[in-house]
Structures are given as C-alpha cells and as structure tokens.
C-alpha cells in the first residue's frame, strides 16, 4: 500500500473541504477500500475518514415514517437498530460477511462501491429508498448505474439513506460460500401502491429491478406468482461459481424465497 495523508474530521463541512484536495478519497469502514489499496487498485494521496463525524451515524425515524440511516453507520449497528422498525433491512445487514466485517463496514461505503454482488444495493433499490448526499437527494432508481458505477460526482459524500417502510419485505441471498457475498440475492418489498423486486449478484449491469416479477406479484403477492416467469441468461454474470443460466434461474428461485419469507 502506498502511503497517504490521513485526516479524520469531526464535521461534514471539514470532510468536504478535505476531499477537495488532490486525489483525496473518503474512508468509511475500509472493508473494501483497504484491500483495494493493498493491491494498489486505489492509491489516494489523502484519506478522509468519515468515522468520526457524529451527523453521519445512527438510525432515526422521519416524520413521514421513513427510516433514516446515517451513511457511516455500520452493518452491525443497523442490524441492531432497525430490527423492530424495518426487519427486512435488519436481516440483510445482519447477513453481510461476518461479525468483524459488520463491525466496521458501512452502508454508505457499500452503496458508493456498488459491487455487483453486494447486498445493500438490493435493499436500497428494492425499497425505493432515497440516497441523500452533501449536495442533493438521489432516487435509488437513478443512483445505481452499472457495476461499480453510481451517480456520485467526485468529492460528493453520501450522508444518509432514507427508506420508506413497506407493508411486507424480505431479502433472500444465495451465498457464495467463500466470500459471503450474494451469488444472487433478491429483495422484495410490498407497498400499498405496488411491489418492488431488486436483484443483486446476477447481472453484469449490477443491481436491477425485475419488472415482470413486480407486475406478477402486484397482482398476487404469493411465491407461486413467479413460478411461470423466466429470466434470460443474456447479460448475466458467468464465473467459476456459476454460469449465466444458473444465475438466471437463481433470480426466480431467490425471488420466490424472498416472497415466502415476507408473507
């Protein structure tokens, strides 16, 4: 790992100022960034830690009922603090990696990274959440723009994620047993005005909404509703863990399991 200047501001304002320096990057839990820096895939000259900024941490409830999660809140804290208010999100957070990863890794870091097999992109897109940054609010539908690509501008920091709470929801992940990431995962959420289904781990384009399933589940919210559907293997990820056809099949299987769990 190349050396860098380390700064740990205590306010968002100071963090944004520090990030305007040349080749500066934010550091959250470091569970993705530190391994990338060891491999020299990332070599920032300044690392701006977001872990000392109180306004980026914690879970609260907005007036409209939305669950608001600070971007630098760890997976472990989210699992604990959303268990009573949005259990599907708590279960997703509690199933990420292992306890040590959950004690450091954050929701903001996961979303900014947008790994095509990560869990949070499915929870956020499936919930129709809003990503709040230091400059604007971005709808989940506009935020994820393909593998490791998001709508974030250089120097822009995610500050909060706002989740509307559905009537019923669940996440089902088929784990890649070595990494614990999703070989394919489905997040299903039923709202008064429709159902959202977000799939991670399957597509070369990263997380996506499975519209046919949303329609079928909108008509009948039951596991059987997706039985007749199929997904094309075109554009699905193929690697040593599974072929595109295998993942395409998992999309339906995991969606079915998520719906059964949400009943």
């Amino acid at each position: 790992m190349y050396n860098f200047d380390f700064v740990k501001p205590t306010t968002l304002q100071d963090a944004i100022a520090a990030l305007s320096r040349d080749e500066a990057m934010p550091l959250a839990g470091g569970q993705t960034l530190i391994p990338s820096m060891k491999q020299r895939l990332a070599a920032p000259s300044v690392l701006v830690s977001l872990t000392g900024i109180p306004e980026l941490k914690g879970v609260c409830r907005a007036d409209d009922g939305a669950v608001c999660i600070g971007a630098a809140t760890t997976h472990a804290e989210i699992a604990r603090e959303t268990a009573a208010i949005y259990p599907a999100i708590a279960a997703l957070a509690g199933g990420i990696g292992d306890p040590a990863v959950r004690n450091r890794g954050t929701i903001g870091g996961s979303l900014a990274n947008n790994d095509p097999s990560a869990c949070w992109p499915a929870g956020v897109l499936g919930s129709g959440a809003t990503i709040v940054t230091n400059t604007r609010q971005i709808a989940a539908d506009d935020f994820f723009q393909g593998m490791f690509t998001t709508a974030l501008e250089p120097g822009e920091i995610i500050t909060e994620i706002r989740f509307p709470v559905p009537e019923a929801a669940a996440y089902a992940k088929f784990e890649q047993p070595a990494s614990r990431f999703a070989l394919t995962g489905a997040f299903v959420a039923k709202f008064a005005d429709g159902v959202r289904v977000a799939i991670t781990g399957a597509s070369e384009g990263g997380v996506f909404r499975w519209r046919e399933a949303e329609e079928a589940l909108g008509a009948s919210f039951s596991p059987e509703a997706v039985d007749g559907l199929s997904v094309s293997a075109d554009g699905m990820i193929g690697d040593l863990h599974g072929t595109p056809e295998y993942r395409a099949n998992l999309v339906r299987v995991m969606t079915r399991r998520a719906v059964a769990r949400a009943q």
């Binding site: 790992m1 190349y2 050396n3 860098f4 200047d5 380390f6 740990k8 550091l27 470091g30 569970q31 530190i34 391994p35 820096m37 060891k38 690392l47 830690s49 872990t51 472990a76 990696g97 292992d98 306890p99 040590a100 990863v101 004690n103 450091r104 070595a178 614990r180």
Partner: protein, 161 residues
C-alpha cells in the same frame, strides 16, 4: 507522521505511525504483541481479530490511525495477569479446539466477543459467528464444542457427532 494514542490491554501507548500503518502492524511490530496473527492479509481468515472498543475487528483491515483514542484488546489482554488461561482459552485446551494453533488467537477473540453479546449461543449461532475465522486443521467441530463449553452449556450431545 500522525501520532496515535490508544489503550492496549489496559496500558496507554503513544506512537508515531504512517497513515498506511495497519493496526495489526502497529500491534505486532510496534508493540511486540505477536499473539495477533496475520494469515491472509486480505480480511478473509480472521487470524488477526482483536477487539476495538469491545467489538471484534480484523486488524489487518483497519488503520492504526483509525484506532486513535480507542481501547484495544488483543489475545495477550484476555489472559489473566497471573498467567494461566481464561475460561475460553481453557475450553479450547480441554476440548482440543486447536491443532497447530495459528487460528486460535482470532478464534478466541471472536468467541469472547460473541459470548459478551450472547452468553448462551446455540451451536448454529457459534458457527455463524465464526463465519470470518478460518481454521485449516480442526474441521471446526471441536472449536464449536469448546465455545459451547466455555458458555457453561452441556456439550455431550455435540461430542457424539
């Protein structure tokens, strides 16, 4: 170079570190606390698990500078001051929860954090907690048994497997 101050195993230490110094390097090379191991250096194996403010973390994937002001506990710090072993370590010995012992410091630190949060875990909960700790020798069975025993639960049903 940034200066960090932290409490390691109850003792306050102050050192200059580079930005890139990992917590595990700081502990092993800076303080000579070589009980914390480096197995993979890629946050997979858990040999480097220590507690930072009471939480289990992989010290190969945390910067020393991030631990400024924190309370850090390593395997050396859970051992009673008069020598000997704490109940989790003793249970690993009694139930043959180790062979080569390379993974053991990380296993004990993860188990200790688990028992602090969940004093009577089920065998499945123990296995889930050990998700990020790899052992190449034991096959895990005796590690699970040791942790179950350390929690004061009956291990006879497990022993038969």
């Amino acid at each position: 170079m940034p200066q960090v101050t932290m409490t390691v195993n109850g003792r306050q230490v102050m050192r200059e570190v580079e930005g890139r110094t990992l917590l595990v390097q700081f502990l092993r090379e800076g303080l000579g606390l070589t009980g914390t191991h480096v197995g993979c250096d890629t946050s997979q194996c858990g040999a480097c698990v220590v507690h930072v403010d009471g939480k289990a973390v992989k010290s190969c994937t945390m910067l020393a500078a991030e631990a400024d002001g924190a309370e850090v506990t390593t395997i050396e710090g859970v051992t009673p001051a008069d020598g000997g072993m704490n109940p989790v370590q003793k249970a690993f010995q009694d139930h043959h929860g180790l062979q080569c012992g390379f993974c053991t410091p990380g296993m004990v630190m993860t188990a200790t954090a688990l028992l602090a949060e969940n004093p009577r875990p089920s065998p499945q909960e123990i296995r889930d907690a050990l998700e990020g700790n790899i052992c190449r020798c034991t096959g895990y069975h005796n590690i699970v048994k040791a942790i179950l025993a350390a929690s004061g639960q009956d291990v006879s049903a497990l022993a038969a497997e």
